[in-house]
Symmetry: none
Subunit: 202 residues, 4 copies
DNA sequence: GATGAATGAGAATTCATTCAT
DNA sequence: GATGAATGAATTCTCATTCAT
C-alpha cells in the first residue's frame, strides 16, 4: 500500500504528471534538502494537487527512492559499458572514471541528493540502495584489481581504498562545481581521471 | 537574543551541561541527521530539560553551528601548524593531507555532520562557515601552488581542483570508514596522502 | 503560503468551518484578549482540529486581521451610505454619527477587539488597517469640514479633532455599554449624536 | 507571597532599581503590549537581573498593577483638586476636563497601558482597579449633575453618558496624539473641554 | 483519476517563576 | 540583596497522509 506504485520507470510510457512530479521533487530536494521540502511545496511547484502525487507515489519516501533508482541505474549501465569495452585496462579505468564525473555533473541535483540523503531512506530502501551501490563499487574495484594484478597499476594500496578515493572526488563535486565556473564537465572529468591514473602509476 | 549564548567555547570553564548537550547533539545529528533529531530527543538523552538547552543555545541551529565552529577551528589550527613547519613542501603537503584524514576519522561524527548538513544552516551562519572553509581551502591550495611553482609538483592541473580532489576523499570517509575495519586511521591517512603525492609527481 | 487563505470573504459560499472558527475566535478574543486566547482554545471551542484552522487561516494573526477586515468593510459601507444621502449636512453627520454607534454596539465584540488589539497585528497588516482607518476618518472629517465651510458648524476647532472626539466615545463603548443596561443601542446613539451636534453649534 | 512587595509607592524613598524597573516596564508595555513584553526584556532594558525584579515585585502582574495605581492616584488627586475649588461649576468642570487631557498626554504611556490592558489584570486586582475607577467616574459625574440640577447644563442627557462621552475622547488620545503634531497638550485640552462645555449648553 | 478538507501527532521555541548559591 | 541556571507547561505552527466526493 505504501510502496512505489508506478512513479515512472526510466523508459516507461507513464503520464507526464509523474515525471513532472519527480523532476520537481528532485530539484527541490537538491535545493532545500529532503526533510525541508514539503509535499505541498512539491505539488504546488509541479502544478498538481496532493491527491495526484499520492496517486502516483505511495509516499514522499518513494520519490526519494526513485531518485536513487534513477541514478544507480544510469551509473551502473554506463560503468558496465565502459568496463566491458575491449580496451586496455588503463583506458577502461580512465574512461569509466571520467564518465562518472561527466554524468554526475550533468545530473548534479541527483548526485547532491544521492550523497546527502541516503541516511533518510527507510531502512528497507536503504538496504536495497546499499546493495546496488556495493555492486557498482565492486565492478569498479575489479578494474583497479585487474590493473594491479597485471602490473599496470601500483599494487601497494588497497583497491577498495582507491575506489573510495576516486568516488570521494565525485561525491564532492556537488559541493564546489558550478556550471558557470572555468571548467567544462569534460575538463573536470579529464583532470580527475588523470589524477587517478597518475596516482596509480607503479 | 537568539544568537549563541555560550555553548562552550573551546577552552572555557563552562558548565558541563552545555558540553553534555553539545556532545549528545553531535552524536544524534550524526546518527539520524539534523532534521530528524528533535530537541526533545537531545535533552532527553542529555538528561536535562528543554529550558536548559535554550538557556545555553539560542536555537537548535546554534547547536549545529557549534559543531561547525569546533571542526573548523580544529582543522584550521592543525593545517596552520603543518603548513608552517620548515620542512620541504612535499613533506608539508603530505603531513597536512595525512593529518586531516586522521583528525577527520577521529572526529567522524563531526565530519559526517559537517559534509551532510551544511545546507541546513541558516543563511547567515552558512555564509560565515563558507568563509572559514574558503580560508582553509586557500591555505591548502597555497601548498600545492608552492610545489607547482618550484617544480616539485606537476603543474598541468589546477591547484583548486587538486585541493577539492583530496578533500573529496576526506569528505567521503564518513561514508565508508568503520573503526572495526582492516585499516587504522593512520594507515588510511598514509595511503591517501601517498595517493595525493603520487598524483602530483611531475 | 502563510497569508490569508480564504477565511470567509463577506459574501462567499465558504464552508461553515471557516466561519465557525472566525466567530469563535472573535468571541474569545473579545473575552480574553488576543494574546491570552490560544489556538487550541479556539479549535476546541469550534469543535475542529488545529489542522483545520491552519487549512483556512495562515496564522493566528490572520484571524485577527479578518476581524479588522470585517469591521472596516462594514463601517466604511455604512458611512459611505449615510454621507452620500442628499440630506442637509447636519442630518448627514447626525445619521452617520448615530449609525456608527448602533453598529458598534451591535458588534461589540468586534469593536472591543478592534480598539484593544490593533497593536498586536503584524506590522504589514497593521499598516494596511491603518490605511483603511485613515480613509474612514477622512470621509467623516469631510462631513465636518463641509458644515464648517458652509457655516452650519462652528469652525474654531480643528475638524480632525472633532472626528477623534466622536470616535473616542465610540471607541469607549466597549468599556461601559452593557446590553442589560438602561439604554438601548439606539438611545445611546441618539444621545451621542446629539452631543456631537450640540458641540458643533456655531 | 505573590503580592506587591515594595515596588515604589509614588513618593517613597525606595531604591532607584525598583523605579527604573517600573519606568522600563511602563515604556515596554506601552510599546509592545503587556503580554508581548517578557520579564527578560524588562530586566535587560533596565540593566538588572531577574532576581532583582522578583526581589522588588512579586510578579509581572504586579508591575502592571503598579502602573494602574500610579495613574489612578494621580488622576484622582487632580480631579479632587479641581472639583473642590470654589469656582462656578462650569469652570470646575472645564478645569477638570482639560486637566485630565493634559495629564493623560503627559503620561501617555501610562494611559495607553491603562485603557488597553485592564482586562489583563488578575481578577482580584481588576476588581480593585474597577472600584477606584468608579470612584473617579462618580466624582466627575457629580460635577455634571450639579450643573444639570442648577440649570447651567442641559439636563436631557444622562450624566453617566456625558462622563463616558468625555472619557472616550481621553481614552482615545493614545491612538492619535503625537507630540510632534500641530497641537500642544494644552491646546488639545482646551479644545476638548470647550467641546464638552458646548455640548452641555442648555 | 483527481480533489482538497481534515486529521493528529509532533515540531521548535518562549517564558514566568523558583531556588541554591 | 542579588544572581542566573534550570524548570515545565504552554504556545504557535507544520506536515505526511487519508478519504469522502
Amino acid at each position: 500500500m505504501a510502496g512505489t506504485k508506478d512513479g515512472g520507470g526510466v523508459g516507461g510510457a507513464t503520464k507526464p504528471v509523474a515525471q513532472r512530479l519527480l523532476a520537481t521533487a528532485t530539484r527541490l530536494f537538491a535545493e532545500q534538502g529532503y526533510d525541508r521540502t514539503s509535499v505541498q511545496e512539491i505539488v504546488d511547484a509541479a502544478g498538481v494537487t496532493k491527491g495526484a502525487l499520492y496517486h502516483y507515489f505511495g509516499s514522499k519516501d518513494d520519490l526519494l527512492h526513485e531518485v536513487y533508482g534513477r541514478v544507480l541505474r544510469l551509473q551502473q549501465e554506463r560503468l558496465d559499458h565502459f568496463a566491458s569495452s575491449g580496451a586496455p585496462v588503463e583506458q577502461r579505468l580512465r574512461d569509466a572514471a571520467a564518465d562518472v564525473v561527466v554524468t554526475t555533473i550533468e545530473n548534479l541535483d541527483d548526485a547532491t541528493i544521492f550523497f546527502r540523503s541516503m541516511h533518510l531512506l527507510s531502512p528497507e530502501k536503504d538496504k536495497q540502495v546499499r546493495a546496488e551501490r556495493r555492486r557498482y563499487h565492486e565492478r569498479f574495484r575489479a578494474l583497479v584489481e585487474e590493473g594491479q594484478r597485471t602490473g599496470v597499476f601500483a599494487a601497494d594500496i588497497p583497491a577498495d581504498l582507491i575506489v573510495d578515493y576516486h568516488f570521494g572526488s565525485v561525491h564532492h563535486l556537488g559541493t564546489w562545481y558550478r556550471a558557470d565556473g572555468p571548467l567544462t564537465p569534460q575538463q573536470v572529468a579529464d583532470h580527475l581521471a588523470e589524477l587517478l591514473l597518475r596516482a596509480l602509476r607503479p
